[in-house]
Symmetry: C2
Subunit: 274 residues, 2 copies
């Protein structure tokens, strides 16, 4: 097999939801995943720090793992460090914000879109800007409790349902005050797809729940379809996945499968010097 090596990067394991969506579309491709777990979460840090961490991580995937295409499977890094990453490496780079906004544009009829994300993603207003470029209004809400709730394993728990409803109610009240009637909700963090059942129950009827991971995987697939097809993988080839983490591989191996939907296999420890 000689298709392109696809690098997938996240601050933690959340980005494995993007890798999962990529695998569904390209079950015979070669993937290298890096979780910068020693320095997570990015979502509560500053732009300067996030850009430095993300550029180092991108260089690892391209220079040391020969990735020829880079997927930034992290909303915070996509929102705050896409340019820094593009400057750091010489391969095509795809973030999750633009595909997410594009999917929201395709889904909304009212032109108003809600976005749940981390503190840093919301502070960057990257989704609001991406919505505005498409003639849409984006209402963003920082939901810092959702990542810890997912990592605690409370993905279908009464407390999580309550927290989700509090965040949603605040967003709906804010929309209403601005005269907006949003009919789409973008999951602006790669941890949130695990909360999809809770979120689907909590949103008002008629509101579409949009997963940036799915939208991004589709865009990557379309960009690479020709090269993947030209590589002429045979029916029996399986995807190759190598996972790296900057901290505790045991925790990565234990939690990662929840996000990937299959065992992550053995994870290699890497030191980025941070």
């Amino acid at each position: 097999m000689s298709g392109p090596v696809i690098g997938v990067f996240d601050s933690g394991f959340g980005g494995l939801t993007v890798l999962r969506a990529l695998l569904e579309r390209m079950p015979q491709a070669e993937f290298v995943f890096l979780g910068d777990t020693a320095r997570l979460p990015y979502g509560s840090k500053s732009q300067r720090t996030i850009a430095r961490y993300a550029a180092e991580s991108a260089r690892f995937l391209v220079e040391r793992q020969a990735a020829e295409y880079l997927v930034i499977a992290c909303n915070t890094a996509s929102a705050l460090a896409l340019e820094a990453i593009q400057e750091a490496v010489a391969v095509p780079v795809m973030g999750v914000i633009e595909p997410g906004a594009e999917a929201a544009a395709a889904a909304t009829k009212t032109g108003a879109v809600m976005v749940m994300a981390t503190e840093a993603t919301v502070a960057s207003h990257a989704y609001a800007a991406a919505c505005r470029r498409r003639g849409l209004r984006g209402v963003e809400k920082a939901c810092p409790l959702l990542v810890p709730l997912v990592e605690e394993g409370w993905t279908d728990h009464a407390v999580t349902e309550q927290v989700v409803r509090i965040y949603l109610d605040e967003m709906l009240a804010e929309s209403s005050a601005a005269g907006l009637r949003p009919d789409a909700l973008v999951l602006g963090c790669t941890h949130y797809p695990l909360l999809r059942p809770v979120l689907e129950r909590a949103v008002p009827s008629g509101v579409a729940v949009i997963d940036s991971a799915e939208a991004t995987a589709e865009r990557v697939f379309l960009s690479l379809a020709e090269r993947v097809a030209a590589a002429g993988a045979s029916e029996c080839d399986a995807a190759q996945i190598r996972c790296f983490a900057t901290d505790s591989v045991a925790k990565f191996e234990r939690l990662g499968s929840r996000f990937l939907g299959q065992a992550v296999g053995s994870v290699e420890l890497v030191d980025l010097g941070g």
Copy 2:
């Protein structure tokens, strides 16, 4: 004034609850505080990574800020990196675990103590070991949602009360299964003192809530009392506090006052190269 410069270190701002307790006892001393906010939280990371980060932070306080005494105002770093810190610097180092266990020993009559802490602190079993050395039984519980709840500002919120009760009930059930009747609860994380009102309401009657921050400040005060007195500060001297952070000083300045109980003043950004 020529009393000792006291360095206080935490992964974030939580350690400001220890600084607050120190200030109450030594209102005329000189303090240098460092929050390693670019790499927080330590609580979910591995021993190796925590030890490296903590040693770098300790060196900054001693070598670059001339601290003559070091307080590790972070349970995770005290549990996992106290030796690494002691090897890294040549001044006395006080962690929060031993004072916390000592205070629990003074409070308990049944000899059984509950400890709420981060994932990494619990995995280290540092509190259980410190209890065992005093002939006590320690029941530890990782409570990873409490720090995010405090940082979201939900310190007196129905959701927080519910989460606290879930963690407590699990700990009480585990104690009961082991034939123990704990009558003390140690707050094994410097964020938790902000949850004290909620915790006081949630614990069964007769259970004492013990704040490691208070116990640690008392021990530091006793160690330094002579030197502080000898420095002969006049009644009009006020404490000098300089705060440093490795990330976003704006967030530190905004959130820090909740923990310190007064404005933190201007915070200086420092780069530890991580």
